[in-house]
């Protein structure tokens, strides 16, 4: 999977499908329509960041909590992101993977990915207080 394309696609779709998530991205410029969002260079850049981070998770599947400890604090203390958003993003990523892999994205493959995004969401919320 091309992390840059998939990242932009995933973050973009989050903002299109669940418009209230745009509340975190006031500084991103034009988010006024689906095409504006999907073409927005800041969305693409940030999407790439997010997905790169998920790529790191895959390398440390046995210690997701440790891997995401700092990011968890960041999301709670600085970014003030409701953990519900991690679930939404996870499911959008699963959908993007389905588009990309089509038939290969069998129910079994999906189940593995759901487990992973749930693990990441849990790790990201572990330092909330």
């Amino acid at each position: 999977v091309n992390v840059e394309d998939a990242g932009g696609e995933t973050l973009g779709r989050l903002l299109v499908v669940y418009p209230w998530t745009q509340r975190f991205f006031d500084s991103f410029g034009n988010l006024s329509s689906a095409s504006a969002i999907m073409g927005n260079p800041k969305v693409k850049a940030h999407g790439k960041k997010v997905l790169t981070s998920l790529g790191d998770a895959i390398k440390h599947l046995d210690d997701l909590k440790g891997t995401f400890a700092q990011l968890s604090e960041l999301h709670c203390d600085k970014l003030h992101v409701d953990p519900e958003n991690f679930k939404l993003l996870g499911n959008v990523l699963v959908t993007v993977l389905a588009i990309h892999f089509g038939k290969e994205f069998t129910p079994e493959v999906q189940a593995s990915w759901q487990k992973m995004v749930t693990g990441v969401a849990s790790a990201l919320s572990s330092r909330y207080h």
Partner: protein, 142 residues
């Protein structure tokens, strides 16, 4: 929450394609939550849940047909699904959280089978439509 004209057009036009694969889509849509969210199986203790089982196929078809009914009466989903709404409220009593899980799995099924059609706009329309369907099905719960 109600669907815009554009959203309705997207749903209805995609449904024409979707209905040609209705049976396999139905089966796949049920298999996915059983694997991804195993707790959903608790509603089917009486079923043979092996992939491709006759019961799964029959039930999948039922579910897809119901979604089709909602699409055909997209201006009055409440009316079209009224009986199903009562069934879910008084007999089945499926916990509301499961509608989100099934909806997500239907979206994944559609995304995998119709990648070119499943644009960000279509994704949003379908998520919203299924959200409306889920609301209708749970509106008589209490």
């Amino acid at each position: 929450m109600s669907l815009t004209k554009t959203e309705r057009t997207i749903i209805v036009s995609m449904w024409a394609k979707i209905s040609t694969q209705a049976d396999t889509i139905g089966t796949e849509t049920l298999e996915r939550p059983f694997l991804s969210h195993p707790q959903t199986k608790t509603y089917f203790p009486h079923f043979d849940l092996h992939p491709g089982s006759a019961q799964l196929r029959a039930h999948g078809s039922k579910v897809v047909a119901a979604v089709g009914d909602a699409v055909k009466s997209i201006d009055d989903i409440g009316g079209a699904l009224s009986k199903l709404s009562e069934l879910h409220a008084y007999i089945l009593r499926v916990d509301p959280v499961n509608f989100k899980l099934l909806s997500h799995c239907l979206l994944v099924t559609l995304a995998a089978r119709f990648p070119a059609d499943f644009t960000a706009e279509a994704h949003a329309a379908w998520d919203k439509f299924l959200s409306v369907v889920s609301s209708v099905l749970t509106e008589k719960y209490r």
